[in-house]
């Protein structure tokens, strides 16, 4: 097993852990953290992409993808945390629970 394979494996494990938290945990903060861990896993897999032309030089395209991906993940986290705060403020709880909501006035 090469070090690159280890990165790929670690990335896959991180993705699975993060995705599991996103689907399985009820608390909104867990879900948002899960998204970030899963995204980190994908970034690891991308960084371990095999070099294409020269075996001594890393492929620049996956690295550009990771940089852009980090920016996207930061933006997504900000929006998700903002809406999660509003959910907590309106319903009193940081969970997705529509059953106990009163019928809101549409006006």
């Amino acid at each position: 097993m090469t070090p690159l394979d280890l990165y790929t494996l670690a990335g896959a494990v991180l993705f699975a852990l993060g995705f599991h938290a996103l689907l399985g945990r009820a608390h909104l903060l867990w879900k948002v953290l899960g998204v970030n861990v899963a995204a980190g896993g994908i970034f690891l897999i991308l960084l371990a992409a095999p070099p294409r032309l020269d075996p001594a030089v890393a492929d620049p395209v996956p690295q550009a993808m990771v940089l852009t991906g980090i920016v996207v993940a930061v933006a997504a986290t900000a929006v998700a945390l903002g809406i999660a705060l509003r959910v907590t403020a309106r319903t009193g709880l940081p969970f997705l629970d529509e059953d106990h909501l009163e019928e809101d006035d549409p006006a």
Binding site: F15, G18, F19, L22, L23, L28, K31, V35, A38, A39, I42, I45, L46, A49, P50, R52, V61, P62, M65, T68, G69, V72, A75, A76, V79, A80, I83, A84, R86, V87, R90, T91, L96, D97, E98, L101, E102, D104, D105, P106, A107
Partner: protein
């Protein structure tokens, strides 16, 4: 002024993006100017690109002169152009509606809190969403698609939370999380495809051909992610609460356009990238589409909230878009032009009709201040034009001639019957009848004079006109379908340049 027509594909993204920045200024004049810029830029781009694609075939535009494999290429074919055009039409209608819906965007209503949040932020968020949609329709690069898909998902969820209700906030949060989960699966798929194929350009990947298990795993991950974003049964649970809770112009663009963004990418994957490959997967998509059609229609019939009924109707109508996949490839290596035309015309007709219905429903719920089918009884006599718009949109959805929905269903049925696929043909006919049933249910309540609504305030004329214009376009689509079908045959069927 612009020599190379492919430059317009950049304008299609830049115009709404600049419009969003202008609208962020927040003053009523800035909101209007931003919306106008988005509408003019998108409309102009769609018109010019349509002429160019008709004359020269599919266009490829390397951004900043850097082509694939290292640079990012924009790609405009017939499918891109018709999606851009319908987005420009629906977007302009929804923007016009929004200028009246949020308290006329007057200085007072923009400042007023918390209802003013909609007035203040709808225009910039919707313009950002518009830019990302246009971007998806002209992208030929997988990672570019990922970034645009993420912008689409973030701005769409934010639009839902503009309605100042707890339900909207929770529904928007759920929508955002589903959307993020879908994007993660898509990004993982993109990473695996890059590792397997060494490029992100869809055209180059398609030429190289996909071999081995890795690309198939990647395609499966991306398909599940995109299916969740398109609300394909059984991953549709997030859609009805989110689309029903959003402010009316938001509901219209979410149901009409946003779900078509991820559908567009699915077509790029299964038609252009991996054309007709893995028939079992296409059949599975078709079966899930059939499930969506039946389950969504049955649930639409059981709703008491008008906007929820329309949202479940979206779940059902999206089913046709997935039944398309097995019909496209009757045999290995075959291609059904009828199915292709029918499927895409259905996407366009549904966009126009559903936007008209949601906008009309917004006017009705505004007038009676409640979102309840029983509360709108007799509204046909109070808001005749809105009633007419809802009816035209609904009948187009049900496939009554000569509407766009009729042409779409007729082409899909013809394709199914020619292939001897009677099961699909019967299913699609049943779906049309169920659609007719829930549309007539609403119309019957609206015509019922015996119970008059307890409270009524007249809806602004602009709300009524915007819905009416889109409903008429949904019908007109059926009359002018031939030119459209010629246009979307350009570059389709896994023959990317």
């Amino acid at each position: 002024m612009i020599r190379d027509p492919a430059h317009w594909s950049v304008l299609a993204v830049m115009a709404p993006l600049v419009g969003a920045l202008v609208a962020l200024r927040g003053r009523p004049v800035a909101l209007r100017a931003g919306l106008l810029l988005g509408a003019l830029g998108s409309g102009g781009a769609a018109w010019s690109l349509a002429r160019a694609v008709r004359a020269e075939g599919p266009l490829v535009y390397p951004l900043a002169g850097w082509g694939a494999p290292l640079g990012i290429e924009l790609l405009v074919d017939g499918f891109s152009v018709v999606m851009l055009a319908v987005t420009a039409l629906v977007g302009t209608g929804a923007s016009y509606y929004a200028t009246a819906y949020f308290g006329d965007l007057s200085e007072a209503s923009v400042r007023e809190s918390p209802a003013g949040r909609g007035a203040r932020y709808f225009a910039p968020l919707w313009l950002l969403l518009w830019a990302s949609l246009n971007g998806i329709f002209v992208s030929g690069d997988l990672f570019n698609l990922y970034v645009l898909l993420e912008i689409l998902g973030l701005s769409a969820a934010a639009v839902v939370t503009l309605a100042v209700t707890s339900k909207a906030t929770v529904a928007g949060m759920r929508y955002l999380l589903v959307s993020l989960a879908g994007s993660l699966l898509f990004l993982l798929g993109v990473a695996l495809l890059y590792i397997a194929g060494g490029t992100l350009a869809i055209g180059t990947l398609a030429e190289a051909g996909l071999e081995g298990p890795l690309p198939l795993v990647a395609l499966a991950l991306m398909t599940v992610g995109l299916a969740a974003k398109t609300a394909l049964f059984p991953l549709h649970g997030w859609l009805p609460p989110a689309h029903a809770a959003a402010p009316a112009p938001g509901s219209a663009v979410l149901s009409a356009l946003v779900v078509k963004g991820s559908f567009f990418i699915l077509v790029r994957l299964w038609v252009d990238l991996h054309g007709g490959g893995t028939r079992e997967a296409l059949l599975l998509l078709g079966f899930l589409g059939a499930g969506a059609l039946l389950w969504g229609s049955l649930l639409a019939l059981r709703q008491r909230s008008l906007k929820r009924l329309i949202a479940y109707s979206t779940v059902a109508q999206l089913g046709y878009l997935f039944i398309l996949f097995p019909l496209l490839y009757p045999v290995a290596g075959g291609w059904s032009a009828d199915a292709w035309a029918g499927g895409v015309v259905h996407a366009l007709a549904h966009a126009l009709a559903k936007a008209a219905m949601f906008l009309a429903a917004g006017s009705m719920t505004y007038a009676v201040a409640r979102d309840d089918i029983r509360a709108i009884s007799g509204i046909a006599h109070r808001l005749p034009m809105t009633f007419f718009a809802f009816g035209l949109g609904g009948l187009s959805l049900a496939g009554i001639p000569p509407s766009g929905g009729f042409v779409a269903k007729w082409l899909l049925l013809r394709a199914a019957i020619e292939q001897g696929a009677w099961g699909w043909a019967i299913l699609m006919t049943a779906g049309g009848l169920l659609t007719l049933a829930y549309v007539l249910m609403v119309l019957r309540h609206a015509l019922d004079r015996s119970e008059t609504p307890p409270s009524f305030r007249p809806a602004p004329r602009r709300l009524e006109w915007a819905a009416m214009a889109l409903a008429l376009l949904a019908v007109a689509l059926g009359v002018r379908a031939t030119e459209l079908i010629e246009l979307l045959a350009i570059g389709s069927g896994g023959r990317l340049p």
